[in-house]
Amino acid sequence: MKNLIYLRDVVTLRLDRDKCSGCGMCLEVCPHGVLAIDEKRVRFRNRDACMECGACSRNCPVGAVSVEAGVGCAAAVINGMLNRQSATCGCFVDPKNPSGGRAGGTCCS
């Protein structure tokens, strides 16, 4: 099976090639082969394959990679809209029963 690709031209991933030191950490942590390095500078290889997990920007020691990281989960977005806390991972904290720990969510396998 070829790699699955989601929507085109939507992700928030940005590169600042001037800051890049060419360490290659972003390439190592990216689960979708989004980035490549040419002449010691990072570049896009397949930008639409980015899922905004944030691994690259978190592990870039010089701040050359930035992305608005988040979890691509419709259920979590709906939870957020319904004011259930923490729109990540579909696992939210029940506001009525905060001591009950985390509840619900369908995405964390």
């Binding site: 989601y6 929507l7 190592e28 691994a55 988040g70 720990g101 985390r102």
Partner: protein, 384 residues
């Protein structure tokens, strides 16, 4: 056996503070940082550490472990399927053995040790509140701060001579390797995406192939997620099915019960087909369905199912009543299917938040619109 399994739940689950990373909770973090208990069901012994016994585990999973995993896949006890965080010995590790980090979701922990038969290693389990590595990294609980705390609390520096720590690659969204090194002295090596490649990664001298670094979404991985998708539909179904049966009873020349037995059963069947379409067939056929948006995929499979079902039902499409009734399901099945398919974005391994938000901007109004018009048509069809 079941009793032994029940002991697996960690001791402080309900006492966890709301904001686990909040600073200043000195007494809390003290108890949180106590070493993992030896009396957890999967612990097979212990080895001596500089400050007390370290629980030993085996790479062989028991039926109890497997049963726990099956239950978690079906949503039973899934939110508290956790092991105590802290350091474990896999086999008989010494001061030169590799250290592998993982989450305290028991399925993650089991997956890792099962992948390392006959090997000796240290396993450093982070407190992710029973959430798997990737989701926890996204939330930050599998993160720099927790990792550094756990390295210190476990006394790892006195247990191994080297300063290398192997993390699952999917932990990277939460962990800044350069900061961990600065704060703890340990160098992070990102291992492969899948636990089953860890042995090969170790043998290759901590080198992962390009393939090991890619997160794919093969049919087996999509299939194991179906049970939890179905369980999620269970609660709404328990409300919707009786309503459908009740509505079907009204109107027409036949009696209430007879209506229920005919149109009611058809409605329930149609509803179940929509669930089948959105929560089973869409995940299974995901790469083969046209469209990039999950909603499109859900419609593409829901619409033919709706047409086939209505055709098989064989209503009298000359009468308004049957046209409305059939038409309502022509809307409702694709709407339900599309909604469930859209919610599968969270389980998938390649959707971005920006993408999901863009999809939802048109998909959610479409699904709600089709759902409401379908329901209206269904209601009207009972009373003309």
């Amino acid at each position: 056996m079941m009793k032994v399994c029940a002991n697996d739940s960690p001791k402080k689950q309900v006492l966890l503070p709301m904001a686990p990373l909040a600073a200043g909770a000195a007494s809390d973090s003290q108890t949180e940082m106590s070493p993992p208990r030896l009396e957890q069901a999967f612990v097979t012994g212990s080895v001596a550490g500089p400050s007390g016994r370290i629980p030993r585990v085996s790479s062989a999973l028991t039926w109890c472990d497997r049963w726990g995993a099956i239950k978690a896949r079906w949503g039973v006890g899934r939110m508290h399927y956790a092991v105590d965080p802290g350091l474990y010995a896999l086999g008989s590790p010494d001061d030169g053995s590799p250290v592998l980090a993982t989450a305290n979701y028991k399925m993650s922990f089991d997956c890792l040790r099962e992948a390392l038969p006959g090997r000796d290693a240290w396993v450093l389990v982070l407190d992710t509140e029973g959430i798997n590595v990737w989701c926890a990294a996204g939330k930050g609980s599998f993160g720099t701060e927790e990792l550094v705390r756990r390295i210190t609390a476990s006394g790892l520096k006195d247990i191994v001579k080297h300063r290398n720590l192997i993390l699952p690659q999917l932990g990277a969204p939460g962990v800044a390797a350069h900061l961990v090194r600065k704060q703890s002295g340990f160098k992070i090596h990102y291992g492969p995406v899948l636990a089953r490649d860890v042995a090969a990664y170790l043998d290759a001298g901590l080198r992962a192939t390009g393939e090991m670094r890619r997160k794919t979404f093969p049919v087996r991985e999509r299939a194991v997620l179906i049970p939890i998708e179905l369980v999620a539909t269970l609660k709404p179904a328990m409300i919707i099915i009786p309503i459908l049966l009740l509505i079907s009873g009204f109107g027409g020349e036949r009696g209430f019960l007879q209506n229920m037995a005919q149109d009611g059963i058809f409605s329930v069947l149609a509803f179940l087909c929509a669930i089948l379409s959105g929560a089973v067939l869409t995940p299974l056929l995901l790469p083969y369905l046209p469209g990039r948006a999950f909603t499109t995929k859900g419609i593409v499979i829901g619409l033919p199912i709706a047409v086939a079902l209505i055709y098989a039902w064989g209503g009298d499409l000359h009468g308004w009543r049957d046209i409305l009734f059939g038409g309502s399901w022509l809307l409702l099945i694709p709407a339900f299917s599309a909604y469930l398919a859209m919610n599968f974005t969270g389980a998938s391994t390649y959707t971005s938040l920006s993408g999901v938000k863009r999809e939802m901007r048109w998909a959610l109004p479409l699904e709600i619109g089709a759902g409401l018009s379908g329901f209206a048509a269904l209601l009207v069809s009972r009373f003309i």
